[in-house]
Amino acid sequence: MRPANILSSLFPAGHDVTEAGGLLGGSGRLDPQTPVDVVGISGKTYPGVDEALALAGRILSIADRPDAAPLLFLVDSGSQRMSRRDELMGLSETLAHLAKALWRAEQAGHRTIGLLYGGSAAGAFIATALACGSLVALPGAWPEVMDLPSMARVTKLSLDVLTEKAAGTPVFAPGLDNLFATGAIAEIWDPDQPLCDQLKALLATTRDDDGRAGWGLERGGRVKAAAIAREVQRLALAHG
């Protein structure tokens, strides 16, 4: 789905979301009583220090507002921008800052919902979609940590071998189904139903602690993480 269609399906009561420089900003209404703040990264943009700071700035000002309007983060990005300048300026700090801003908004009472409708990869994925309190996706979304050809180069395995291995496990290969199976994504929405209803339904659920490892176990894509984390936690508490 394209951003314009997504926004009109989300906000039948209207929205003022605009795009500039690969970033989205504005707000919409699920219904007259329910305003939603919107930020986003679109058009496969590779976020660098400038984009990350601009997004974080908007999110922090939303977090600072006393109301509890949800914050929707639309994501169709590349990976982080790979450049000498971005690293010179401390891209790791800015991307972490963006993730912290999203966490802060959630903590301040604004539900943060990531809506992955296109691509996202590597550090950009961590600092945007994965840093939201809840992450949903639309079919056709294509999250990846690294594409298979690059992975073939690094692992020195042929693309054929890698593709064959990918068929047997969701743990390393790109794509929505694989990320869903590992627990990254709460729900995959149905594009043929009104998105506003699906968002309302999501907002009606309560979000508690990070349950993604549990989903990974249920869905069979990440079966050890939950138990390992729990065991370390138990041992630490037992030790005192």
């Binding site: 790979m82 690293e87 966490w103 390393f172 990254a184 370390v232 630490a236």
Partner: protein
């Protein structure tokens, strides 16, 4: 045994276990899910790669200058310290315990980022670690990161570091999202010549990160210096609230405004007022600190 420089014992060269042994008070360390528990990665066999019994990370508890802390140390020599499912979950569990116990955490970073052979699990683990770190900090827990390992601190690892309450770095430490080889592979050697090691350090090395306020403390590549640095970092505030993040936003915006068009680390340092920026890499720690403490951009508490 004769030690050639009895005053210095390299942190960079030490193993993760060796670093922990020197960091913590003698005899105070207890490991959780140690190698004898055999909780290793289930995914490496698929690639005919050997596993390591602790999956490249040691987590546990100990005392640092008498103060109880939870600790995690990555082993940069095992798969470049890369973060996979088990590796990541051990750190997540530790941070969740820290939140409940309100116990400070020290993380000894040494990682190239996500482990490709289990990329999705690793990526997600990093997201969980970040959330657990921030949740712990919200409870007043300090999360201190030490950066001086062989593998540097790259990729998702650098984002975790960016969420710590305080960072300690040595000259050898490198902190960056994309590594030099990754930039070169994707953008060409004109963008970044990864074989130009001096360029690597001018762009992402310890001295540059300290000068621009990306980290809080700069120490010698020495186990005792890292211990002292960790003790000092644990005295820094843990607070993570709207005010801190607003201050961080301002700090990072100021950095971009001040240096955003600089072509090289030396240009950044010149703008900071460092008299002989080209000579900075060759300065020893005390000479560097004399200059840097006066000229650097501080992070204050804005982290």
């Amino acid at each position: 045994m004769t030690s050639p420089s009895p005053t210095r014992h390299s942190w960079y060269e030490e193993s993760a276990r060796g670093r922990l042994a020197h960091l913590l008070d003698p005899g105070s360390f207890t490991e959780f899910l140690g190698p004898e528990r055999r909780e290793f990665s289930p995914h490496l066999g698929l690639f005919n790669l050997p596993h390591q019994l602790d999956d490249g990370i040691i987590v546990g508890t100990g005392r640092l200058d008498g103060r109880p802390v939870l600790v995690a140390a990555q082993e940069g020599r095992f798969m470049g310290g890369a973060i996979g499912e088990v590796h990541g979950a051990k750190l997540t569990g530790l941070l969740r315990a820290a939140r409940q116990m309100k116990r400070d955490v020290v993380i000894l970073f040494d990682t190239g980022g996500v482990r490709l052979q289990e990329a999705n699990a690793g990526e997600l683990a990093i997201s969980e670690i970040i959330r657990a770190t921030l949740d712990a900090r919200a409870e007043g827990v300090r999360v201190v990161g030490l950066l001086g390992g062989r593998a540097g601190c790259y990729g998702g690892g650098s984002l975790i570091a960016g969420c710590c309450s305080a960072l300690v770095i040595s000259e050898q430490g490198r902190l960056s999202v994309s590594g030099p080889e990754v930039i070169e592979t994707n953008k060409g050697v004109e963008e970044f010549d990864s074989r130009d090691r001096a360029l690597v350090w001018r762009t992402m090395g310890g001295k540059h990160r300290y000068l621009i306020g990306g980290v809080d403390l700069f120490v010698d590549d020495d186990v005792a210096a890292f211990r002292a640095g960790a003790v000092a970092a644990l005295e820094r505030p843990a607070t993570l609230d709207q005010a801190v993040l607003t201050a961080e936003q301002a700090r990072l915006e100021r950095r971009l405004a001040r240096f955003g068009d600089a072509a090289d680390g030396t240009e950044v340092w010149a703008r900071l007022g460092v008299a002989h920026p080209a000579g900075v890499p060759d300065l020893d720690t005390s000479a560097f600190l004399t200059i840097a403490t006066r000229k650097r951009e501080g992070a204050d508490a804005a982290r």
